[in-house]
């Protein structure tokens, strides 16, 4: 007997400014993520810092993904299949805090973002659903 879904799968795409990380996106980001996880070794971090482009060329990533890494454009990398738990390893290699990395996606300066968090964070009001606008 087929089971009933509690919500249509398309609803996962209905959240403003959000890409839900699915198995399919994970496939798209696989080699990007392989690069990110390579940064869990100090020697690899050193090699990457020495010549970023040459290091990236060792991985079967798309040119777009490589460009996104070089620009530290986390929104673009998420668009290209990335997930923040992998991507944050690039930020850690750079010595960025997780807050700086995450804030960089919001269009706010690090100071503005930090101030927003101290004031209680971003309200969910109006950001729950694209369709409902709530």
């Amino acid at each position: 007997m087929p089971r009933q879904r509690l919500y249509p799968l398309e609803d996962l795409e209905d959240i403003p400014g959000t890409k839900v990380f699915t198995a399919r996106r994970s496939r798209q980001g696989y080699y990007l993520h392989k690069f990110c996880m390579s940064l869990m070794q100090a020697e690899n971090r050193e090699q990457f810092k020495k010549d970023e482009r040459a290091y990236l060329d060792k991985f079967a990533m798309t040119d777009d993904q490589k460009q996104g890494v070089l620009e530290r454009d986390f929104n673009k990398l998420i668009e290209l299949g990335g997930n923040m738990y992998f991507l944050v390893k690039i930020a850690s290699t750079d010595g960025w805090s997780a807050q700086k990395a995450v804030g960089s996606m919001t269009g706010m300066s690090p100071e503005e973002y930090a101030a927003m968090m101290l004031e209680g964070g971003r309200s969910p009001e109006g950001l729950r659903s694209i369709r409902e606008g709530n």
Binding site: M40, Y85, S92, R122
Partner: protein, 280 residues
């Protein structure tokens, strides 16, 4: 016989681990966060379990890339802290309780949870930050730890209801372990936070506090909350909260809420923490 005597839940924000490791817990920013853990630091000295079954998620440290198990139980004798990009956290080795882990795995499969066995892995901040929060900068962790890794990062994740049922199955498994052991179950992660896109920084105090109220007193209602609801209301990373349901269900019907703490922010995240004593 073994029994589950208590449950603890806590956020496992990596920056909290860094604050502990770098001696910043009394800084203006961090002191109010760590104040929320003073109760448990004292309480657990008199209530140190033999074993903690610790529900957490791996953050692309050992899992998520090549293998994405929905529920997995750590089966190595020991687990080292992972290098997440800035070196390994200076924390003790985590020692497993293999006999209980084996028993739980066997019972879970009988209960139709086809759990994955992991014979080698490093454990990341998801597991080590809660240990540091409860036990501080210890030379050795004072108890054994069975890592229970839950996929809450790649869809399809398990539902809250499924996590609830897993907690019930863990309760039954522990109860039938013949050795006399004091076991705690910990649920970690959350509360509301989103680490991606233009919605990053999302915090939903109303949602978090409703969750805390229901978790103590009407937890069955939480089992009906959909994954979509967590994503919309608590952010893409706020869905980690479903791991708290494993802890709560493992305690059985009634609990005594010994402690509750909620604070915004720690880095990008709303911090939540509860301590429950099992009544039955």
């Amino acid at each position: 016989m073994a029994r589950i005597s208590a449950g603890i839940a806590t956020s496992h924000v990596p920056a909290i681990g860094a604050a502990i490791d770098l001696g910043k817990t009394q800084d203006d920013y961090w002191a109010p966060v760590f104040q929320g853990y003073e109760f448990v630091r004292k309480w657990i000295k008199g209530n140190t379990p033999d074993v903690v079954i610790l529900a957490y998620n791996d953050h692309a440290s050992a899992l998520m890339l090549d293998i994405v198990p929905t529920f997995a139980i750590g089966f190595a004798d020991t687990f080292q802290s992972a290098d997440e990009g800035w070196g390994r956290r200076p924390v003790p080795l985590v020692h497993n309780h293999i006999d209980l882990a084996a028993h739980v795995a066997e019972q879970l499969v009988i209960d139709e949870f086809d759990i994955t066995i992991i014979n080698e892995m490093d454990v990341d901040h998801g597991l080590t930050v809660p240990l540091s929060l409860m036990f501080g900068q210890a030379e050795e962790w004072p108890c054994k730890v069975i890592p229970l890794a839950v996929n809450v990062t790649q869809f399809p994740t398990p539902s809250g209801e499924r996590c609830w049922k897993l907690g019930e199955a863990i309760r039954n498994a522990v109860k039938t372990f013949p050795e006399d052991l004091d076991v705690q179950v910990w649920g970690t992660g959350g509360m509301s936070h989103q680490l991606q896109g233009t919605r990053a920084g999302l915090i939903n105090k109303e949602f978090d506090n409703k969750f805390l109220d229901l978790l103590a007193h009407e937890p069955e209602e939480l089992a009906t909350w959909t994954r979509l609801k967590y994503l919309r209301e608590a952010g893409t990373e706020g869905i980690e909260l479903i791991m708290w349901l494993i802890m709560r269900a493992s305690l059985g019907y009634g609990v005594e809420e010994l402690h509750r703490f909620y604070r915004v922010p720690a880095s990008n995240t709303a911090v939540g923490h509860v301590v429950y004593r099992a009544k039955s």
